[in-house]
Amino acid sequence: MFELLILLLILAASFGMRGRGFARRLRRELPKWVEAGLVAPEKAPLILEQVAAASQRRSLASMFAILGALLIGIGAITFFAANWQTMPKIIKLLALFGAMWAAFAAATWSLRHEARNWLSESMLLLGVLLFGANIMLIAQIYHIDAHYPDGVFVWSLGALLVAWLLASPAVFVAGLMLAMLWSGMEAFDFSRLHWPFLVVLAGFTFVAVREGWSRFAHLLMIALLLWSISTYAYFITEFRGGGSVVYLTQLYFLFYLTLFVSGLHLELSTRLNEWAETLRQYAAVAGLVALWALTFPDLLSAKLFISGRGGVRPAADIEWITVTLLMLAVVIGLALWHRQRTLSLNARETWHVWGQGVLGLILTCLVVNLFVPGNHGSLMAIAFNAVFFTATLWLIYAGTHLDSRHLVNLGFMFFAVGILARYFDLFWKLLDRSFFFMAGGLLLIAVAAILDRKRRQMMAGMKGGEV
């Protein structure tokens, strides 16, 4: 099953990475070159056609070769897994090592001959797959019964080394998948809080940044978020106090917020700004999920997690307060730094100011909630609902300004999810819900009217300026 998972994910990544990056970049850059007089206008479409055709040919050959490498790798694992006794150990070892060395030798040969470059990725991938097969099969031959995730960890490190030294995207994807598998095994099979994964993830991030593989930002963010979910599950089972789930959810929200603000910082970097949008998108989704969880009155009172009748969440103890305030300090520090950077660049816009206002509201709710016990959970739920819906509106606003369709869609999606949750929320009576929706509707129409008036004023001002 794990082999199948790895196979599917490598295939998916392979389809995404084959040669399209250059064609896409060329399509973007070519008009500028034409404008600068570097390329004749009539030649531009021909160049694009040529590149697209060549890229498709290379891409198909490469993909079939990668498929072949995967099948050979998995075949090698199952062949030796049969533990065929008629073959002496020394012959088995020579075959195992020889196959791995041969794959790397073939990769070297294909890298040296430009016409055979289509083979290099698949041979590097095969070399890494055989390295993994060798780990497993040497463990079999010598009855090495170690902590089994360690084998996957070493395999992943080997892939990282190859991806780093030989700049192989296919091996990079395979290695990252293996690292995720390793962390999943540690977290779910051994119930561990698996910090070491962050070090390995940092290694993969370093290689991706160095090679300019920003298309793998999605994969890196998925890995980070899955890891964060596994740590959340660990903490939930470890801390069984009534309020833990609430305070922990707040901390995770702050963590995702930290990632989001880091994404805003990356936007300002000339070297790393192509990573910013992906980071922001995933952090926004995760942060909104955490904030949405905090809008449930039953979670805030923690009735679901406390045994006995009438039990409610106590106010946070000093440990939760300290950790939450430390995380708050990090978020506020990053936000203020971003404010300073955007001020100095004269690039700060209205959506920044509104964003800081929304951020202030959310952080105030989080701090107040630390000191309010669960019997006032419904009051806090109202506050959290208010800031949640405000945050979704701000996302739509910010997305419009940043020209990010993703943020706009995200804002609408979470607005709808929030509305649905409140509609089916049995905590409030139907009449209260009716008032909530009608008041919200009126408020939104009022906001729309104000925005439209502002737009008209701005347009009028622009016309006046022109005159």
Partner: protein, 198 residues
């Protein structure tokens, strides 16, 4: 290594580093196990095999040793352990099998004893309402890294269910760091499968 530096290295050198590093890791695995088998003290342990299949590595016999299950009542050090902790079991010779004498969470500095290093695999815990902490309530399951013996596909049952009332036991070697390796599978005290380097 910066991007510029790695690009300056020739392809042959970069590939050489990859091949040497990966090969060293694999040789290291073999060398570590062989060192334990070559230098370790031979210890015979009582076991009851079970026959499952490994995801990557084919068929194996799962060996369930008597010393895998330790009662926390008899070994006070086990009362505070949790899953994943390392424990050290001091073994003493018995007839015919070696037996656990003491269990500690720190490695005992006694060169004359045979000490087996293990990892806590499962702990039965109960929540103490008064102390608001978990306590070990019963047996603790410990693994020593010798619980799997790989066999040719379809032959595991010969060890799992020996005929004619034969008794299976395992001879392991325990090195001075507490690491163990299977040296031989014994049927009625006589070695049936012996492990060698090649």
């Amino acid at each position: 290594m910066s991007r510029d530096m790695s690009q300056k290295l020739s392809l042959t050198l970069r590939m050489g580093i990859v091949v040497v590093m990966l090969t060293l890791v694999l040789f290291g695995m073999i060398a570590r196990k062989q060192w334990t088998l070559a230098t370790g003290t031979p210890v015979v342990l009582e076991t009851q095999p079970v026959d499952p299949r490994s995801l990557f590595r084919g068929d194996y016999v799962r060996l369930n040793y008597t010393i895998n299950t330790l009662d926390s009542a008899g070994y006070p050090a086990l009362s505070t352990v949790k899953r994943g902790d390392t424990v050290y079991v001091t073994l003493v010779p018995g007839e015919p099998y070696w037996q656990p004498k003491t269990v500690s969470t720190e490695c005992p500095n006694d060169a004359s004893s045979v000490v087996l290093k293990g990892r806590v695999d499962r702990v039965n815990r109960r929540w103490n309402r008064e102390t608001r902490q978990y306590e070990v309530s019963h047996n603790v399951r410990v693994k020593f890294g010798v619980e799997h013996y790989f066999v040719p596909e379809g032959t595991g049952r010969a060890i799992e269910r020996p005929v004619g009332g034969e008794k299976v036991s395992i001879e392991v070697a325990v090195d001075r760091f507490g690491n163990a390796g299977i040296r031989a599978v014994l049927i009625n005290g006589v070695p049936r499968y012996i492990e060698t380097l090649f």
